[in-house]
């Protein structure tokens, strides 16, 4: 046997092998082989965002356009007109959304309330600003402290209340602007730590009986106070479920319907709900899916919660001021048998 005789593979086989090796290298080089983050590395609250159809008891009837760059506060006047304030100005709309008054403000305003006599109270960076009419000059009330952020104003016949989120206090004024009392905060002799306000969402509202309610967002609930600052009742309901308040600091906004039905808006899980007078869950007004439709703040880490304010009009309709959509969403309670949702 000839020892020099070797089995040599044909050239085309070598070529194919070389091509396969090159293809494999190129494939591995250009293909992303790193895994996507698994479920253990993902923050997912989608199961809490889902709301059963039966729980939604309200239907959106109208969208009123708000031509402000950043709308923050909403109030309903006694005659049904709507007042909206924001970073650049003030708008007055009629009930159908037609613009009646527009004016620039020299300060950003995060909240507004309108008294029965038509006087408007705005929360500004230095305290409460009073407008006798939407067109008139602002009168500023003295507000103690330097670092102030008024996130809510409420007014009744005798008093004006302003919620200061930075100092976790509620300031009580008489209608002439004299500071009468502070609930919570460093000047409250009874309980300086009455309110826990981790983020700039702190709201006040009167119920249909005229009783004062203040949110306690760090305790995930609402508290009822007498006008002398005495605590009447508390209702705290932490939890991710639809019948509770989620996250670290909710409810972000409150309002009241007839029969002292509480309307609440949350941040994080952007949803609007109602609770009966005994605080049992009454129904969902707007599910997260409805609030989050048509916009996104994914690229803006400093974005505020989309629901900027809540109000209830004389017809017991719920008005939701939606910041990113620049509109007021008007919700009416569905009538069984009439509304097919």
């Amino acid at each position: 046997m000839n020892e020099t005789e070797k089995k040599v593979l044909p050239g085309w086989v070598w070529a194919m092998l070389a091509l396969a090796v090159v293809s494999a290298v190129l494939f591995l080089f250009f293909t992303d082989r790193r895994p996507e983050p698994g479920p253990a590395l993902r923050y997912d609250v989608s199961e809490y965002e889902a709301v059963e159809e039966e729980a939604i008891r309200y239907a959106e009837r109208q969208r009123l356009r708000v031509e402000l760059e950043e709308p923050y506060g909403l109030a309903v006047a006694g005659d049904g007109r709507l007042l909206v304030v924001g970073d650049t100005g003030l708008l007055m709309l009629d009930a159908a959304g037609r613009e009646l008054v527009r004016r620039e403000l020299p300060f950003p305003s995060y909240c507004v309330a309108v008294a029965a006599d038509g006087v408007s109270y705005l929360g500004g960076p230095d305290g409460v600003a009073v407008l006798a009419t939407p067109e008139s000059e602002s009168v500023y009330w003295d507000t103690p402290g330097e670092n102030i952020l008024l996130t809510s104003v409420a007014v009744n016949e005798q008093h004006v209340y302003a919620a200061d989120a930075v100092n976790a206090r509620v300031l009580q004024y008489d209608r002439s602007g004299r500071l009468l009392r502070e609930f919570g905060g460093p000047n409250d002799p009874e309980n300086p730590r009455r309110f826990i306000v981790p983020s700039p969402y702190f709201d006040i509202a009167f119920d249909s009986m005229g009783s004062l309610w203040i949110t306690n967002p760090g305790k995930l609930g609402v508290e009822n106070y007498r006008e002398n600052g005495e605590l009447l009742s508390t209702w705290h309901k932490p939890g991710m479920g639809v019948d509770a308040f989620a996250g670290c600091c909710n409810p972000a906004q409150i309002a009241f319907k007839r029969g002292t039905t509480l309307v609440s808006a949350e941040k994080g899980l952007n949803r609007v709900k109602t609770f009966a007078a005994d605080r049992s869950f009454a129904g969902v007004v707007a599910a997260p899916e409805a609030i989050q439709a048509g916009w996104s703040d994914a690229g803006n880490v400093y974005a505020r919660a989309p629901i900027r304010d809540l109000a209830v009009d004389a017809d017991d309709r719920i008005l939701v001021l939606h910041g990113p959509l620049h509109c007021i969403l008007v919700y009416e309670e569905c009538v069984p048998g009439k509304d097919v949702e």
Partner: protein, 187 residues
């Protein structure tokens, strides 16, 4: 004639040597382009979680950082607790962080302080997302310069959907997250 030629050549060589030496000294004295490092801009980060899986380092050179001035010191901290956790305590079943890198300590009723154990943190951003969604957004992700390999082409930057990872000069401070800051200055 020949000596003149030699003299000219010598002068030329001397001049060339002097120019080379002077040029070398000038080059050494002139500051070159500054070294740059990779950084995450917290104002752009969307907490997609890919910093944990795409960094060439294992665990990632991206770590969670806590801006304590923004923190609300909440008892029910959405950056520390699982959504819907049955109890507000440090039980493993309640903690959001997959590696228990977020440490909770009692300050005074009802406030708790939170800090990050960098050794345990894998940079997944789960806590950052929880904090941002419900809280003040005091937690954020950042590339730690002492851990980063400063790759020519950062694998995270290539993958980042928000283009939040970019190079900045080494002399520039870390991008911070501050209350009221809209975005970090462009480098």
């Amino acid at each position: 004639m020949t000596s003149e030629k030699q003299s000219g050549r010598r002068e030329f060589i001397r001049a060339a040597a002097a120019a080379a030496l002077g040029g070398g000294v000038w080059l050494a004295a002139t500051p070159s382009a500054e070294t740059t490092v990779w950084q995450i801009d917290p104002s752009k980060c969307v907490q997609c979680g890919q910093c944990a899986t795409h960094c060439v380092m294992n665990p990632s050179a991206v770590k969670c950082v806590h801006a304590t001035r923004i923190c609300g010191y909440c008892d029910l901290c959405s950056g520390f607790l699982q959504p819907g956790s049955p109890r507000l305590d440090t039980g493993a079943e309640n903690e959001l962080c997959p590696t228990a890198a977020v440490k909770r300590s009692f300050v005074e009723d009802p406030y708790f302080a939170y800090e990050i154990d960098e050794v345990l943190c894998v940079g997944c951003g789960k806590c950052v997302k929880g904090c941002r969604q419900f809280g003040n957004g005091s937690l954020y992700l950042q590339i730690k310069r002492d851990l980063c390999q400063n790759c020519n082409e950062c694998a995270i930057a290539r993958q980042c959907p928000a283009e939040a990872v970019r190079r900045i000069p080494l002399s520039q401070a870390y991008f911070l997250k501050e209350a009221g800051a809209e975005e970090n200055p462009a480098s």
